[in-house]
């Protein structure tokens, strides 16, 4: 059903911390291995061992440089579905296979009813959807819907695989619709932002910007003075062993 559900349910999503992401691709690969089974499995890999290896991934980690020369920063940037509040990928879908859940806001593709027209992937500005050429349907991040409510795994593990695995604590999961949730407070504290908000999709996932690096003025303060003849001091130093 491609109408967008009315607001009121939870807004589950991710917060990605660009200040601590080291670009290790753990999130991307762990997602790939988690999704060898479950909702969208199997994910294909074409030319897996040959000349043009490429497959369907739900999360990909870019790396950028921002700025020039000594001011340049290297920033690692994981990109996956933002589970937008007003996702065009849902409204453009002609069959209703692409839909947004009312109860938690997760955007999903039903692989049994998708006709593989690819329009939703055109509509998504963030490249969150990748087409499985082998199965003929569109696939995307499910926010690990098969983990977050899964009574067959320990409660502390009921978070998306990418969040559980991230070694740098760069990924957080929770209800962005609850201003008191840990993720919402994190976003407020760190000035988390939307990607391309002017497009109006109202992404739920937020990105925490890299913290500014301190700038050091040319030393106006005098350098710490030398100790005149430090050897004299050290001779007299009352040390005890």
């Amino acid at each position: 059903m491609t109408a967008i559900p009315p607001p009121g349910g939870k807004k589950l999503g991710l917060v990605i911390d660009l200040d601590t992401c080291v670009g290790c691709h753990a999130c991307a690969v762990n997602c790939k291995e988690w999704n060898t089974s479950g909702h969208s499995a199997p994910l294909p890999d074409f030319d897996a061992y040959q000349a043009k290896p490429q497959g369907v991934w739900f999360n990909r980690v870019h790396s950028y440089e921002a700025g020039e020369g000594n001011d340049s920063r290297t920033v690692y940037f994981p990109r996956s579905c933002l589970h937008c509040e007003e996702p065009a990928c849902v409204t453009v879908c002609p069959t209703g296979a692409s839909y947004k859940r009312a109860e938690d806001g997760i955007v999903l593709v039903n692989p049994d009813t998708c006709i593989g027209c690819k329009l939703c992937s055109w509509a998504c500005p963030y490249g969150a959807r990748e087409f499985d050429e082998d199965a003929g349907v569109m696939k995307k991040c499910t926010l690990c819907i098969d983990r977050i409510y899964n009574t067959n795994i320990p409660e502390e593990d009921r978070v998306p695989a990418c969040v559980a695995t991230c070694p740098a604590q760069a990924r957080h999961f929770g209800d962005l619709g609850d201003p008191n949730s840990a993720v919402s407070r994190l976003v407020a504290e760190r000035e988390g932002y939307d990607l391309m908000p002017e497009l109006g999709y109202k992404p739920v996932n937020k990105y925490l910007p890299p913290r500014e690096r301190p700038r050091y003025a040319a030393p106006a303060e005098p350098a710490v003075e030398s100790v005149a003849n430090p050897f004299l001091r050290w001779i007299d130093r009352a040390l005890s062993r």
């Binding site: 109408a3 080291v22 290896p53 497959g55 290297t74 695995t165 991230c166 050897f231």
Partner: protein, 949 residues
């Protein structure tokens, strides 16, 4: 407005993950994280980090998460292979294990019965050196090592000779408390997950993280301050910091006096045979000068008022000066001032001064106090633990240079001056360290006789020239010439010299080269083209291969397979028992010892055997002492039997947990046959948490040393005195100056005199002083990508989608000035060769440095990848332009290594860049054929645990 769709999806919100869970240890890199493996229908379903494991605490990096593809790789070998064509042609036939082991036994038996040292046994990236090293000892060959000489021996040795621990495996920053971290030469590994988790903690609490690296990637991206230092100049930067701290007297002299050899007296007798050695009493104890009695006294005496500066006269008339005096004199010299080093390092002098100020401010004005009394080895009780919360970490960026040992020593010097060794918030030892300095006896190699074991382990820690492995006529005992005047402190061996020396018969010809997990015909080699040629080369006089027998064990079809005569296929890490032992490369933490095992998660589906089982079996077949019982039957059934029941010394075995017949002994105790079951029950690891009183100052913490001794971690309860001044180096120097019975050959005296400085020095990497510098204006280095570990990673179906080729990264400004644009194909030209690569421009790189990701480039056909896989078509190895030899100014060929430890000096490489006409990869080697047992892999992979792939 909302109507339910007729196609509303029914989702299983609680699918069962798998039908079986097993815990084990990852082996996608050297981090050894604990993993929880889910299986379904006997196939791998999901691998996640184990929340309870001390190393990773539940996280798992990209490599570990790709374990499924690593295990099901089509590059896996299937059965023992015997070469049938020429070496390098890759023609093999499958044989049974019996035949393979008979053949190996025959070759090895012949070697042992004639001249055991003609076996060179090198175990690459393997982490079971305590077994393989012992096997080599019992066999009787000194020619054993793993890959450390190729990798990071500089860093390890510098630490072990200075502070009784080292960066990476034997120590780490106090992640929970440190306020300032200075990191040198680390891209993104060593270690992997603990550093990531640790950095996240630092950022969360606002601690400052400064990273020095020529390239801004990986951890450097997170740094609060990034300094694009010129490769090989870190030591200069550090000594400038030392200069600043001394100049402004912002040092912890109390710490130095109590815990280091700062107060030890050094004989001043130029020309004499005791010049530069410690003054010692009749019992050999180093002396200090007590200001109270104005007399020399045993430096460990409590309650004295030691002199730190001055020139003192000993009762016997000899003059001596405290170590600190020598140190201060040297580093206060203007040549170490920030202004003098700034240009060389590429870091402004003001920045160096500021960082010195910051370090001192954090160390001395932002101390941490923990209300925890503790007693030091002098019997003094301290009411609190005072922390200097400055920490440091360093790895290959400083190690892989010909000045790496002294550079790393200078970092330890800096730590000691700041009083920042094993205090709250500073760098801390990881159990079982600290160990005495140095941690073990010298290497053993003399006395290699037919059918005789060596009296000691092949690798060790020389204390002076008498420990060198030289025959009486000065001939090197080892094939790699480790522990000779070329590399006296080569504590990890020199894997990179083996093939070249064996080919040349210099110092002697060998019979068998036995390699494990070492891709020495490709990326584990400098100048792989030469290595390949040498392995396949025949002596024209005899028509025989110059290296008569090559045995190779690996799990995968690597580039080295075609160059072996006999292939013994290994299991993957999920198919075997293993132990991550404190006798080996431990996973202890600063809070206490720990070790771990691997258990088979799956049974092998092909005719392969775990390498360690093979080692034990060969040991039994060869009747090596310790590997057979008195009646000649095998002492161990298999590796797990060895792990649980072997005692290297009484009460000390591979694993420290659940020892004793009742399983309650910690660290030391009788073998417990049930031990592995206890580990499996505990998710395959053991840890022991030290009491709070023992957590810091371990080098002088009486309670810690007492318990560590009881656990078998240290040989006695003596204080481990930190060594600012490393006396063994001076002994080598004295030999070079003409003293003592073992002296270097004349042509090497100058070199030893120069480099074997007992206090850290900085010298330009040797390559930088070679002639015609202007022809090679750029530094060329590599970094390890986060997603790959040597050549294992890029064969992985998932990981290779992230990187299946590598580029040559250049500074944008530098490239533009050379007329080179993004995506241009260029030649990277060094003194010894050239290789083609495609350019990518970046900002965050030292302007005089180019770099690439290592180990992505592959040889066509290897690893069962398609013949036109980008790894071989577009990827390139910088190794091709590095030689294991370097021509000295006098024309002599010298190993391209650190002169002290023999560490392969990778990052000394100097190159120039020229545009290339074509994009065709160069060099390019012939496509390797698929060995028997391997089949063409599918093009389409749809991995689903419920269906066959």
């Amino acid at each position: 407005m909302t109507r339910p769709s007729a196609a509303a999806e029914v989702i299983d919100l609680s699918p069962v993950v798998g039908d079986e869970v097993k815990y084990t240890t990852c082996y996608m890199c050297a981090c050894r994280c604990g993993i929880k493996v889910h299986l379904k229908d006997g196939r791998l379903r999901y691998i996640e980090g184990n929340r309870n494991h001390p190393v990773n605490k539940g996280v798992l990096c990209g490599k570990g998460s790709a374990g499924i593809m690593q295990h099901y790789s089509p590059a896996r070998l299937h059965k023992p292979l015997l070469r049938v064509g020429e070496r390098g042609a890759g023609e093999f036939k499958e044989i049974e294990w019996d035949e393979a082991l008979n053949l190996a036994t025959e070759w090895l038996g012949n070697v042992r019965a004639t001249d055991p040292k003609r076996l060179a046994f090198f175990t690459g990236r393997d982490q079971s050196q305590s077994l393989t090293g012992w096997w080599a000892k019992q066999f009787g060959t000194p020619n054993f090592a793993a890959h450390g000489g190729f990798c990071s021996v500089n860093m390890a040795t510098a630490g072990l000779y200075s502070i009784g621990g080292s960066f990476w495996e034997f120590g780490e920053p106090d992640w929970d408390r440190t306020k300032y971290l200075l990191m040198f030469g680390v891209a993104e590994d060593h270690d992997s997950n603990p550093i990531k988790t640790g950095l996240a903690k630092l950022k969360a609490r606002g601690a400052k993280f400064v990273s020095l690296n020529p390239v801004q990637t990986g951890y450097s991206a997170l740094a609060d301050e990034f300094l694009a230092i010129r490769p090989g100049t870190d030591g200069l930067f550090v000594l400038a910091l030392v200069h600043e701290l001394l100049r402004t007297d912002r040092i912890d002299l109390e710490f130095l006096a109590s815990y280091s050899n700062a107060i030890w007296l050094v004989i001043n007798n130029p020309g004499g045979s005791d010049d530069g050695l410690f003054a010692r009493d009749a019992d050999g104890k180093p002396l200090a000068w007590d200001r109270t009695t104005e007399a020399p006294v045993d430096a460990s005496t409590p309650g004295i008022r030691p002199a730190v500066v001055g020139t003192l006269t000993l009762p016997d008339g000899r003059r001596a000066r405290p170590v600190f005096q020598l140190l201060a004199e040297r580093y206060l010299d203007g040549k170490y001032a920030p202004d003098a080093v700034a240009e060389r390092c590429g870091i402004p002098a003001a920045t160096i001064r500021r960082i010195a100020t910051e370090l001192a401010d954090v160390a001395f004005n932002q101390t941490i106090e923990i209300d925890q009394p503790w007693t030091d080895t002098s019997g003094r009780r301290h009411e609190k633990m005072i922390g200097r919360p400055v920490s440091m970490h360093a790895m290959r960026g400083i190690s892989a240079h010909s000045n790496g040992f002294q550079t790393c020593r200078s970092i330890h010097l800096l730590q000691m001056l700041l009083g920042a060794i094993d205090t709250p918030g500073s760098w801390r030892y990881k159990s079982p360290y600290p160990k005495p300095i140095p941690p073990a006896a010298g290497p053993v190699g003399k006395g290699s006789n037919p059918n005789t074991m060596l009296p000691g382990m092949a690798l060790g820690f020389p204390q002076g020239p008498q420990d060198l492995l030289l025959e009486d006529d000065g001939t090197p005992i080892r094939i790699d010439k480790a522990f000779t005047w070329d590399a006296p402190l080569a504590a990890h061996g020199m894997m990179h010299m083996v093939i070249a020396n064996a080919w040349a018969g210099d110092p002697y010809k060998i019979d068998t080269l036995f390699m494990y997990m070492a891709n020495m015909a490709w990326n584990s080699s400098m100048n792989p083209g030469e290595s390949m040629r040498m392995l396949a080369d025949k002596d024209p006089a005899t028509g025989e291969y110059r290296i008569p027998h090559v045995i190779y064990s690996d799990a995968y079809f690597s580039e080295t397979v075609p160059y072996a005569d006999l292939i013994l296929p290994d299991t993957t890490y999920l198919e075997r028992w293993d132990c991550i032992s404190m006798l080996d490369r431990p996973i202890g933490s600063p809070d206490g010892p720990a070790d771990a095992i691997r258990q088979p998660v799956l049974a092998p589906d092909r005719d392969v055997r775990p390498f360690q089982d093979i080692v034990l079996e060969l040991g039994a077949r060869l009747q090596l002492p310790g590997f057979v019982k008195d009646d000649g039957s095998p002492a161990y059934r298999d590796y797990p039997d060895y792990i649980a029941n072997h005692e290297r010394t009484p009460g000390i075995g591979p694993l420290g947990g659940w020892r004793g017949t009742d399983g309650t002994a910690v660290g030391k105790g009788a073998a417990n046959p049930d031990q592995l079951a206890r580990y499996v029950d505990n998710q395959c690891f053991w840890r022991h948490r030290l009491p709070d009183e023992q957590l810091y100052f371990k080098h002088a913490n009486a309670a810690y040393l007492r318990d560590a001794h009881a656990m078998g971690l240290v040989p006695n309860t003596n204080q481990i005195v930190l060594q600012l001044y490393v006396e063994p180096l001076q002994r080598f120097r004295l030999a070079a100056e003409g003293h003592g019975p073992v002296q270097p050959p004349d042509e090497k005296r100058a070199r030893v005199r120069r480099y074997f400085d007992p206090l850290p020095i900085w010298y330009a990497p040797v390559e930088d002083t070679a002639p015609e510098q202007a022809a090679w204006p750029l530094h060329a280095i590599t970094q390890r990508p986060s997603i790959m570990y040597h050549s294992w990673g890029s064969q992985n179906a998932w990981l290779r989608q992230i990187y299946d080729r590598n580029h040559l990264y250049m500074n944008r400004r530098t490239a533009t000035a050379l007329g080179i644009a993004e995506d241009d194909f260029v030649w990277v030209i060094s003194r010894t060769g050239r290789v083609k690569g495609q350019v990518r421009l970046m900002e965050g790189v030292n302007p005089d440095t180019v770099w690439t990701w290592n180990a992505i480039g592959k040889r066509a056909g290897a690893w069962n990848l398609g013949a036109d896989a980008p790894e071989s078509r577009d990827g390139f190895l910088l190794n091709h332009v590095i030689s294991e030899f370097r021509k000295e100014a006098d024309g002599m060929l010298q190993s391209n290594s650190d002169p002290i430890t023999g560490q392969a000096a990778w990052y000394d490489l100097r190159v120039r860049i020229e545009k290339a006409d074509t994009a065709v990869a160069d060099p390019r080697y012939s496509t390797l054929p698929r060995p028997p047992g391997l089949t063409a892999p599918p093009h389409l992979l749809r991995f689903n645990a419920s269906e066959p792939a």
